[in-house]
Amino acid sequence: MEPIKIIKSTCVPLPIENIDTDQIIPARFLKAITREGFGDNLFRDWRYHSNGDPKPSFVLNQPHYQGSILVAGKNFGCGSSREHAAWALYDFGFKVVVSSFFADIFRSNALNNGLLPVQLPEEYIQDLLKALQDNPSLEAVVDLPRQEFSVSGSDQAVGFEINPHKKSCLLQGFDDIDYLISQKDKILEYEQIRITV
């Protein structure tokens, strides 16, 4: 996993609520056995017509919106536990998803793949979406060490929460499996106690 520290990028607005993981990556594209390549089908049915032609009205087909920060409506990532949703966003080039609320499993999946979910107040996101509509080249800065989100040129930063353990994993590019494997003795001990209870 690549470490994350400070990400400075333009943003892609997607002001839709309750975006479920079936929209992020439809089930029919889950047949691959590797983690790569899912970005091609990210938001497939919103992004393309059934004949494969791009839908010009969808934001990923609008060249003036680029960048590695996705700004989405509330309850992002609800539904299926498919980690492919996090892989697809990351594979496409997103490093950060901003929303006022994330579904639990998506949040874990994102954090386990170096994709940072940044939860900000709903009003702030509404203002940000409005600003992005007026100025697509607006840049934002996500500062993980300081846990702050700000718009370039503004001295007003807004803080975001992240679990300290997950924060340190992301900063160092560590994953949870390394940690769990280091706990093997405790796990074996627990199994022994459980058997004798």
């Binding site: 079936d22 309850n75 609800c78 627990y190």
Partner: protein
């Protein structure tokens, strides 16, 4: 000191350690895997050069992308075939029991776990599938995980998780005839919304829940995730024990007596507290349908599509108008199946309603049993003939048109009354319009060819 909830009791027993300000190391008793969310996890193990830590606590089946006809033949779709083959190879290499295609125990992972008695009260159960919440019906802490977490469990039999908050949903009173547990959970979802339980683990309680069969309870717990909850559970009782007794992998003899003693302790203490409590009255619940594009967008079958600016995008996709009734609207597709409603009781209910009747000519009605065992049982009881005579197609087990990974898809623009769990855009195929309902409502709709209130037929 206040008492503990059922959830706390099971969770706390499984916490090995806690990271300061971080998640807990939670021990997992049973791990179910399937073809779609496991291959990358096995690759991870290979890259690290490690084995599956507890293969005997891991069970695999092929369900998500398998065809529901001609399962004895090689899978036609190349990618699906390759994915199922990969599962077979991985299980062989890592020594995991696989109930693959053709096996007498193959089926949807959340159907086979309970019917084999692998699912038991007081256990922790995970699977790379959000509907793992189903197993909570037995008083287990069961939740869906992502593939990185599947790899954690394969490698260490543990997963790093933060403890969710507690929510209690109580339903009391008597259900009207024709009202099923699916209607209860669609009703609850319509009240608390698709995200109303995010961050929580639900305990369902109350006299209505107590009165339900194990299969009906599984339908309720199954859809906990549709309100954002990590899982949902029901305290085990005589109904639970009766269901589990003599199941293949349930404890036997003296072990059964010992297990029973432990299971009887699994209930919420009188003085335990919850973060949120909801109470609902069963007499307000009628057959439910959804009108929108998430499972929280549900209404009474005789209700009118609510007017709200929040509905606009969903109604446009669904081709529906606010203020209108859906009752009587023609529907060409009916799907009876999925981990929510594909068990033998569901098939019996459908058969009892359609016996001696004919589906409407405009309707394609598909019945997908949840497992080989359900399929066998249905045939043994003659349900296959009843369904066949009524024009319903009884096929072979799998997830099927619930998520349209195989060929079982609903055509673009068409409505499907479905007993599955999600009505998201494109869930049953690109452009498909899903209306979630109970097995009885689905069967009644197939007979009439239009959305029907089953209470008029019984």
């Amino acid at each position: 000191m206040s008492g503990k909830t059922l959830f706390d009791k099971v969770w706390d027993q499984h916490v090995i350690s806690e990271i300061k300000d971080g998640p807990s190391v939670v021990y997992i008793d049973r791990h179910f895997i399937h073809e779609v969310t496991s291959p990358q996890a096995f690759d991870g193990l290979r890259k690290r050069g490690i084995k599956v830590f507890r293969p005997d606590q891991t069970v695999a089946t092929a369900d998500h992308n398998v065809p529901t006809i001609d399962q004895h033949l090689p899978i036609k779709d190349k990618l699906s075939r390759f994915q199922v083959q990969k599962l077979t190879e991985n299980c062989k290499e890592f020594g995991i029991q696989l109930y693959g295609l053709g096996h007498q125990y193959q089926g949807i992972v959340h159907v086979i776990g309970p019917e084999l008695g692998i699912t038991q009260p007081g256990l922790t159960i995970v699977c790379g599938d959000s509907h793992t919440s189903t197993h909570g019906a037995f008083g287990a802490v069961a939740f869906g995980i992502g593939t990185s977490e599947v790899e954690q469990v394969l490698a260490t039999q543990c997963v790093l998780q933060r403890k969710p908050k507690r929510m209690k949903i109580e339903v009391n009173g008597t259900l009207d005839k024709g009202v099923l547990s699916k209607d209860i959970i669609l009703y609850i979802a319509s009240k608390i919304s698709t995200s109303g339980a995010t961050g929580h683990f639900i305990e369902y309680a109350g006299s209505t829940i107590r009165g339900l069969s194990m299969e009906a309870r599984m339908t309720i717990c199954n859809m906990s995730i549709e309100m954002g909850a990590r899982g949902g559970m029901i305290a085990p009782d005589e109904t639970t024990f009766e269901y589990l007794k003599d199941k293949k992998f349930a404890p036997q003899g003296k072990e059964w007596d010992r297990a029973l003693q432990q299971w009887q302790e699994l209930h919420t203490d009188d003085d335990a507290t919850f973060d949120i409590v909801y109470e609902f009255d069963a007499s307000d619940i009628v057959p439910m349908i959804t009108y929108g594009t998430n499972p929280g967008m549900g209404m009474k079958i005789n209700g009118k599509v609510p007017e709200s600016p929040d509905n606009a995008k969903a109604l446009q996709y669904m081709g529906l108008t606010a203020g209108k009734q859906l009752l009587g609207m023609p529907v060409n597709h009916v799907f009876i199946g999925s981990c929510t409603n594909s068990r033998i009781e569901d098939l019996r209910l459908v058969a009892s309603l359609v016996k001696g009747k004919q589906k409407a000519p405009n309707v394609q009605a598909m019945v997908i049993p949840g497992s080989k065992q359900v399929e066998q049982q249905a045939r043994a009881e003659g349900l296959d003939l009843i369904l066949q005579e009524a024009g319903f197609q009884l096929r072979q087990p799998g997830c099927s048109a619930c998520l349209g990974m195989n060929d079982d898809k609903v055509p673009a623009g068409e409505y499907c009354v479905s007993t599955s769990n999600r009505n998201y855009e494109g869930r049953q195929g690109p452009g498909a319009r899903t209306i979630l309902a109970s097995p009885l409502t689905a069967a009644a709709t197939a007979i009439a060819g239009r959305i029907t209130d089953v209470r008029e037929l019984i």
